[in-house]
Symmetry: C2
Subunit: 344 residues, 2 copies
């Protein structure tokens, strides 16, 4: 019975390397994964054979045999939102020195979609999972708890991590920005919010806390929409807010896109910023410091969140979970011209 032709298309396998190097297949496997367990001389022989054949291990076979794929599953609610794009970049950069791959999933801000993607990801037995936010559904939470791999929740902080957590307090971010505006002399400060995902909700809560503490809260100051955020939407929300409350003298925006929309609308309508209207954004995208006038915003550690999430996960994979399972990376209020009423 003649042996069947190789299915795989003739790529060299570990057996080919082993034969060429004159060692057992398992030794090649070891030399590649735990070089310190193989003697120097054999290691060199094997490396030479690998180079000569151009051998690249098959990650699928590897995953099957070891019941563990070298994959980081990453779930984010949006791919185009600049905030998550930077988080993802931080994740990729921190993984580029390893052989881990990234499996990215877009939940579209949907808990059900998150559950579905989690199922898909888990079928691969990922090395770690990074998920956005802390508002997983009960089902998703259970899946994560029994995932059998490190799990990092990112973007927020809370006292009850599933496993580990990296982020900052959106509530405090909102409160800090609004307190600053109150101190700067603004009184009728509106809240403009798009999308209103859980993190936006908590920024709103921070806004409300600050306003109530100053005795300034009025529900008519709050203008929100479930529509995804955009600069255009910022303009529209501002128009709505102004129509509802013409005495508005400031806005705290959900994010920088909204703030930019407000700024442009002020230019168009000849509303003086910061004199007639103060503006504060959230996230501090690059453009905020260049805008005219420059726009106050809450700088958030997006790239760093991605980086830290990977570091924590890799440490956990290596067997050492950090002492503090919740890392609060904080934020920084960038005070700029758009809320500087005193300059004249």
């Amino acid at each position: 019975m003649k042996p069947r032709a190789r299915r795989g298309g003739g790529r060299p396998t570990i057996a080919d390397v082993a034969k060429l190097a004159g060692v057992g297949a398992i030794t090649v496997s070891r030399a590649l994964r735990e070089p310190e367990r193989v003697s120097e001389s054999l290691r060199q022989q094997i490396q030479q054979a690998v180079d000569e054949l151009g051998y690249v291990p098959d990650p699928n076979a590897r995953a099957l045999a070891s019941a563990r794929a070298e994959v980081f599953g990453v779930l984010v609610p949006s791919l185009t939102n600049n905030v998550f794009a930077e988080v993802v970049r931080g994740i990729y950069d921190s993984l580029s020195d390893s052989s881990f791959r990234v499996q990215l999933g877009n939940t579209h801000y949907s808990g059900l979609e998150e559950e579905r993607l989690l199922q898909v990801f888990l079928s691969q037995r990922p090395a770690a999972l990074i998920v956005s936010g802390i508002d997983q559904t009960a089902t998703a939470r259970k899946l994560l708890e029994t995932a059998g791999c490190p799990v990092v929740q990112i973007m927020e902080t809370a006292p009850d991590p599933i496993d580990m957590m990296v982020g900052f307090s959106h509530f405090e971010g909102g409160r800090t920005a609004v307190n600053h505006m109150i101190e700067a002399g603004y009184r009728k400060i509106g809240f403009l919010g798009a999308r209103m995902d859980p993190r936006s909700q908590r920024r709103l809560a921070g806004y409300r806390a600050a306003m109530e503490a100053a005795g300034l809260f009025d529900p008519r100051l709050v203008t929100t929409t479930p529509v995804p955020s955009s600069v255009t939407l910022g303009r529209d929300l501002f128009r709505d807010a102004l129509a509802k409350m013409p005495s508005l003298d400031g806005v705290f925006c959900n994010n920088d896109d909204i703030a930019l929309g407000v700024l442009f609308e002020c230019h168009r309508a000849s509303i003086a910023v910061p004199q007639a209207i103060g503006i504060s954004g959230f996230n501090d995208l690059d453009m905020m410091q260049v805008a005219f006038p420059s726009v106050t915003s809450v700088r958030t550690p997006r790239y760093e969140i991605g980086r830290q999430a990977v570091l924590m996960a890799r440490a956990a994979i290596a067997g050492s979970r950090p002492e503090n399972r919740v890392a609060d990376l904080g934020f920084e209020l960038m005070r700029r011209e758009s809320t500087n009423r005193s300059r004249n």
Copy 2:
């Protein structure tokens, strides 16, 4: 000799489903992949067993056995660049109704990094590859030619696709925008370019062609930098350009971030737009139409490029490569206030 405990952690396998449904394992496999080849009654039995056990196929085992992973390898030069973020979103959305996964790689605009990632991706035997641009290294091109799967080059068009191609002409985009500015009465039109990747180079070539055709080209009008693009950089480039050539009366920008930086700097320096300076951007991000004044830009079909790339690849996987291997999705010049000199 007692059988060793199952390695995989007790997840149900195809054999478990087969036993429960009272059929052969291969029939379960078929029912899942080619339902029409299995009788209605068995199909139902099997589906019931699948549901009861919560069976999810192991993609690694599947990939190993079939020598083909259900993965789209996608290589982009940047993850945070809004342009590629939208392309990636188009790819993800067009794949969400399938069981294909996406393997995303960030080449950081480096040909060598692209080669490396290509090696990594190919080791998984992907179902298709989507790569950015047409300037692959010779090595990368060879890898793609012998990849054994559909390959789609995106973002640009050229007559010699490796396999398939979806994009538009950056040269024509640049030329069209600049011609419009010339028609609008601008004469000393500068080119501001960041990063200067191959696509930016071709926009510059389009700029140059338009300027030369009108007898307006002057090398001192061109200001570029290899530094990655940002709004801040747009401001700086504009300042440089103006210092070099104070009689500048317009700028065609590499992309919208640069254009926005110019716009803000004009506000800050009280330079009238569009009277003293005309501005044109590239890509037409949402903010351009909201800006004050609104900014002329070349709208590019980013999301659609991602979508079409997936459609073409999926068709090729199904065995029907399109007649035209190169799809030119075009662009649209959005004429706006920033180049409308006649309005006053």
